[in-house]
Symmetry: C2
Subunit: 206 residues, 2 copies
């Protein structure tokens, strides 16, 4: 008997790949089971319906991806604001051309499914709210340690930063191309500089 | 015989309303002709197919709406950077709750149709590029008149500003609510302040 957690993980991983490339509604269960190398019976054992797979993609895959990309790297920096700038640049450099043209998977699934299904909407909004909350936590730390202007509101700033992180992927997807991504990076860095204290600027050279 | 331009305009206007509220693919020609009070024959006289109506929505309705909202108001300001801040606040105040929950019509149609139909993709990208180009033109004016930091690149900054204008609508749509919009306004203003010269800041009180 196969390891059940591994089977479930393979279904999730294949599901993510298809949904990211062609959208949730255009993806069929038979495509996913073929790519995962499992039976339909195994699929429906773990996910009673295709929608349940979609909810698990939000709750597990997209949530983990958001934390891995945007939040967990910040723990390595004494100054979280500087960490946000460096992390953005590293993410930009690691993004493949295919990912540039596909855009952000959270944004895409939200646009496709939020108005169709309220459960999707709640789960995807949950990932976005956690992204904001974790960003706010690091901004408060930056403020407490004297790296961020004490007059700046951490919650509002966190909402604005997450908007820029999501919005960048969307405009790069629409316009296509790395040059636009570089414009986004420079704007992002310039904004972070503007909320930093003079104690330590994030640096104008990467 | 009816005024042909008026008939065409009524079809476009009804088409915009339906497509904005329920998406392009979910909208039928029969819904549009019923709302516009015209015959199907009249519809197909002006638009050989539903896609042709969609292209006209991009080329005409969305383009005009973008210019009316984001560009034309700037002509009234000696300092375009200050104009951008005031215009953003006025747009925020004029946005209805329904519009908040529906998001930006250009962004929605781009997400829905760009990967489906390359003609849509080109036309919607054209509106976005014109938005950026017109924003760049005003930034160059601001720079020439000494309102913008001479080291800031107008093209890259225009791309970043349009990303924020589009991205704000998307996150407000996802999170729902005016408080988020206010966070976006404050971030937007703070960024514009950071690229202004000391000659005239955009003002921290609206």
């Amino acid at each position: 008997m196969r390891d059940p957690e591994r089977t479930r993980g393979r279904i999730l991983s294949a599901g993510f790949d298809y949904v990211y490339r062609q959208g949730f509604r255009a993806t069929s269960v038979s495509e996913i089971v073929a790519a995962a190398g499992v039976t339909e019976g195994a699929f429906f054992h773990y996910f009673p319906s295709k929608n349940d797979l979609g909810y698990a993609l939000a709750d597990e895959v997209l949530r983990e991806m958001m934390l891995d990309r945007w939040i967990r790297p910040l723990a390595a920096y004494g100054n979280p604001i500087k960490g946000m700038t460096v992390r953005y640049r590293k993410l930009m450099e690691a993004t493949t051309d295919e990912e540039l043209s596909l855009g952000c998977p959270l944004n895409n699934l939200t646009q496709e499914m939020s108005s169709v299904d309220p459960v999707f909407s709640d789960k995807l909004r949950g990932v976005l709210l956690e992204w904001i909350k974790e960003t706010e936590r690091y901004l408060k730390k930056a403020q407490a340690d004297g790296y961020m202007n004490p007059e700046v509101d951490p919650r509002r700033t966190a909402e604005f930063l997450v908007m820029m992180e999501e919005g960048s992927a969307a405009i790069v997807k629409s316009l296509g191309g790395r040059k636009t991504y570089l414009s986004m990076y420079e704007g992002f860095r310039s904004y972070l500089d503007s909320i930093s204290t003079r104690r330590e600027k994030t640096g104008s050279r990467p």
